[in-house]
Subunit: 466 residues, 2 copies
């Protein structure tokens, strides 16, 4: 038996992984740098939310917590686009009625998972211990107690690094120089800042509840997701510099109000303390991290954001991490019956299967950054969207847009979704541009044209690039 497991990081991915592996009978130590978030006061008025969709729900289902999680969810059926005059229109995420995404509280979901983990007799959770170093070759890690400052070393048969985008475990791999570690961190030229639209005085939502609201403005963009308490968490995406409005030049309350009045007039009245929030809340960077190998010496494996941090524009960060657990669990199933698990082979098999997909969602998320802030306001993209929504409503089994493939079609991988989705997009945009999709054609004829063109594009790419 080599089933003593150390999981570093008790965020969303680490908690779900701990829960699932505990259900499989592993002996688990789960160590978290921060205090137990169930016992500390959450920042008043801040309720950071995330988009939960089918791939993430599948992970929660695997661990038997889907129903509990759904109680925390607010369905969002589409993007509510706001123009500079305050006009809105709803662009559904799918033409199929049952396909929507959910707004969910990050701390709420994390607490739920920790509660479940704590019910398992074979898991020991340690909070307030930060990972100082990892002995990669010998599967042990040293932690510092935040309160006592004492150091503790924990050994295991296998270590999992689920300590997020800024992973200390990954840093140890980067700096080890004992093997070739491919690594990439890419920052967007934009940063983000969270603001809040509070509930109205009688506790109601100040704008439409069941949508992800977007104010696309070319170079900058505002989005808002609903919370259970009637508030919305708003996120501003803005260039750091070199733009008419950017973080570098929004330096006074007057300038912030000027900017919001000009670009987002309908928001101003919904955020009572706009300037206070703007200058009180931090500005965060937007980065993509990729690396390989994910394992070191067959002793340690990176998962979740530690292995593949992505920008938030596809709403897939948490979903990808939960899907990691699903994919890992499928492979673990094959190895679990072995007396002595060959972690090295298991880790390699996992990465061989999974990495192309986390690379794909990382690239798709950056693409969507540009689509959301630019394209959603451009006519040809609106035409394309309208056509795709009609295809999905009329031919629900025959057509999935790129967004639907990524978000709702968890039976195909992210990389397949990217390949097919991009080919479809290219087909539709070129057919529209060439005037080949004519008004007098039936929707079915249009669909067949798009399908044929998509296959031709996939074939040509296959011949040229293999």
């Amino acid at each position: 038996m080599n089933k003593n497991i150390l999981i570093i990081g008790a965020g969303l991915c680490g908690s779900l992984l701990a829960l699932r592996m505990a259900q499989r009978g592993f002996e688990i130590t789960l160590v978290e740098k921060r205090p137990d978030l169930r016992k500390v006061t959450q920042d008043a008025g801040r309720s950071i939310n995330l988009a939960l969709s089918d791939r993430g729900l599948r992970g929660l289902r695997l661990a038997g917590v889907e129903d509990e999680a759904k109680k925390l969810c607010i369905p969002m059926n589409g993007r509510m686009i706001h123009d500079t005059k305050g006009n809105t229109f709803l662009s559904p995420y799918s033409g199929r009625k049952d396909e929507y995404i959910n707004s969910i509280s990050r701390p709420g979901l994390n607490m739920l998972l920790l509660d479940e983990v704590e019910k398992m007799a074979n898991v020991k959770i340690i909070f307030n211990h930060s990972c100082e170093s990892v002995d990669l070759e010998n599967a042990s890690a040293t932690f510092r107690n935040y309160n006592s400052k004492e150091e503790t070393t924990i050994s295991a048969d296998a270590i999992f690094g689920t300590d997020g985008a800024g992973s200390a475990v990954r840093k140890n791999m980067f700096e080890s120089h004992k093997f070739l570690f491919s690594f990439s961190q890419q920052w967007l030229s934009h940063g983000y800042k969270e603001l809040e639209i509070p509930a109205s005085e009688n506790g109601e939502y100040r704008t439409y509840k069941n949508a992800l609201h977007i104010w696309p403005r070319g170079e900058d963009m505002l989005i808002a997701l609903p919370n259970l308490d009637g508030s919305f968490t708003v996120t501003l995406f803005l260039p750091y510099e070199n733009s008419e409005y950017c973080f570098a030049n929004l330096t006074s309350p007057e300038m912030v109000h000027e900017y919001f009045n000009k670009e987002f007039p309908d928001v101003v009245e919904m955020i009572p303390n706009l300037a206070e929030e703007f200058f009180g809340n931090p500005t965060g960077p937007l980065g993509t991290v990729k690396c390989s190998p994910w394992n070191a010496f067959g002793k340690l494996l990176l998962m979740g954001d530690a292995a593949h941090a992505i920008v938030p524009f596809y709403g897939q960060g948490m979903n990808a991490s939960f899907e990691d657990v699903v994919v890992f669990d499928e492979i673990l199933e094959k190895y679990a019956s072995e007396e002595k698990i060959n972690w090295n082979n298991l880790f390699k098999e996992y990465e061989a299967l999974r990495k192309k997909d986390t690379d794909a969602i990382a690239d798709l998320a950056v693409d969507n950054f540009h689509e959301m802030k630019e394209h959603t306001a451009m006519e040809i993209f609106q035409k394309k969207r309208k056509l795709e929504t009609a295809f999905e409503a009329e031919f629900p089994e025959e057509y999935y847009s790129k967004y639907s493939l990524v978000t709702f079609k968890e039976s195909i991988t992210y990389s397949e979704a990217m390949k097919r989705g991009r080919a479809q997009d290219k087909a539709i945009l070129n057919l529209l541009d060439d005037g080949k999709i004519k008004d007098e054609m039936s929707l079915k004829e249009k669909l067949e044209l798009v399908k044929t063109e998509t296959e031709a594009i996939l074939h040509d790419d296959e011949v040229a690039f293999g």
Copy 2:
């Protein structure tokens, strides 16, 4: 006047930059970690050579040293492909007679440049001083004397980091955390090992002199470039592991001989001390490094491999670095008349113009890795190559292959060469695959077909991806 310049790294890029900026009247301190390579014995029998082509020659011309450099050059007119039976065929680099690449000794060229730099009264060269740290905000760097171990700090108005792929200057930027630094290092699954085909006993070349020899074998590959002394420098590219033959399992002289006898029989007789060289010489990794920004606080700029290390498969590493100096010099020309040069603006303008091109050559070099080891032996790629060579010979002003665009057409940028070259490749491969290029067509008709298809591909990509 803010024209005191510190250049860290006196390799090919740093030496050429120092020479050019000295010619423009800057006061320059050029610091090199290694000893003066003109005064130390070169490793016996090792003559590392590189491919020098038009973009590199343009840089040497700018500094007035092209003619001297050409004396060190051996023209290579094409790729000499060797099959497993020892049969060969020459695949010309271009259908135009005057287009070829050159094999040149790296230390020979570096010595030439250092000799020229030393003639300039306004350059001070310091050898044996390794860069320990850089104060990015204040434009100063601390060096350690290799012999005395003493530390010296040198300040300047602007610093240039030309200290190569493993740049210490870049490491300081990565670790500073005072600005967002995008960084990527990507390793191939293959390593390389250098071997030597010595001159014959009467000093002659043991195989055809004026070619770059290639033994493509699918997963692995051998290449050889000629040296002035009659020898060839041979490089083996082989997977580290997970292959029938790989560095991990070639562990005895018998296995090395078995491998070479099977895959490269015509080489075995040309390398007298094969196993000795194989086990005596180091195995090197093959990596691509990209980063951004290249400048820190308007005080420091990375150039050459320090900013963009690439794999060697397009023979463009040195050429790209020399082209860096050309592009930088063009921008410097605009700023040079200012009493006080705005280095911050200059550095940003340089990166805005240049980075897309060094990114492109990095990607093209990885593509060519696959093309050289796989495609050169595949029929459809040989057909394509034959067609392109005919186009270039018959219509020298109308057609440039991707390889020619990158290697010989220095009037267009790497990124344009990549875009057009990839579209052409895709057009030809698909036209061949679809049987649309027919034997009965005239060469002119075939060319027109390829041109039309290429434009269609470029247009479709433009519509879909902008």
